[in-house]
Symmetry: C2
Subunit: 154 residues, 2 copies
């Protein structure tokens, strides 16, 4: 099985609270590239609630955030080729918009799907849909920006 | 000292991962009403990072989310009076928008300030500003909706 997009991030970009494989306290969101979209499957923990029985909206925003950045990275690899320098292949969030269409029940896995809607220079606009038991409960639109040098310490 | 807005939520609304005082694994965002705005001060943990040295955007979205809901609750109490039935006084997020103006450094406390921009029926539009060391690093606009009966189990 192909490693997830986040598992291909260089170590220095793998401490993210949302998706870093090296963050021991993180959420560990994982995304896979499937044909022309990225898919993340996330099982919320019992404490990830807003009110009992329903998933916390900030968790949904966090899943979408990391999933969108992974989508932007994967789409860039697809466009520019596998030979791309991975040391700079990390996106950060320029803006994040989530519409909560209905309450998201706690229990089943959350499925987030993301596509690239638009690319302009260093920015990419990603649109996302979150479903649970095949019901769409949230939609997102997130602007991903190639990481600025000021955020790279290595 | 006056208790925070979240400490006035009834127990059944106090399990939120973002701000619930009864959620043992939560972020424990706390908001205070100060004259005509709500203020939250949050100190991120070392693991709350996007890349080393910078705060995770999903954490900022989560702080803004809970802080906006608290702002809506506090503004409702101010408008309708202290005699209001608290059992229904909880807002949930209709939509969330965050603009990340610049990277947010990890270390100092994050200060989120929120005001009510607009009220229409059961909805309230809250605008937010996040600063660290007096530099604004993010802005938010969040729609808060009075909790629907389908999300109340008591």
């Amino acid at each position: 099985m192909k490693p997830t997009i986040q598992h291909e991030y260089p170590d220095e970009f793998s401490y993210c609270y949302g998706c870093g494989r090296l963050n021991d306290h993180g959420l560990h969101v994982q995304s896979s590239w499937q044909e022309d979209q990225a898919v993340a499957v996330y099982l919320p923990q019992p404490h990830h609630i807003a009110v009992p029985g329903f998933v916390y909206g900030g968790l949904i925003a966090s899943i979408m955030d990391c999933h969108a950045m992974a989508t932007a990275a994967a789409a860039t690899i697809q466009a520019e080729g596998e030979g791309l320098d991975r040391a700079t292949l990390r996106f950060v969030t320029g803006s994040l918009h989530v519409d909560y269409l209905k309450p998201t029940p706690l229990g089943p896995p959350l499925i987030a799907k993301a596509i690239v809607k638009e690319q302009k220079g260093r920015k990419m606009v990603i649109t996302l849909s979150l479903t649970v038991n095949e019901v769409e409960t949230a939609r997102g639109e997130i602007v991903a920006v190639r990481i600025p040098e000021t955020m790279m310490r290595n």
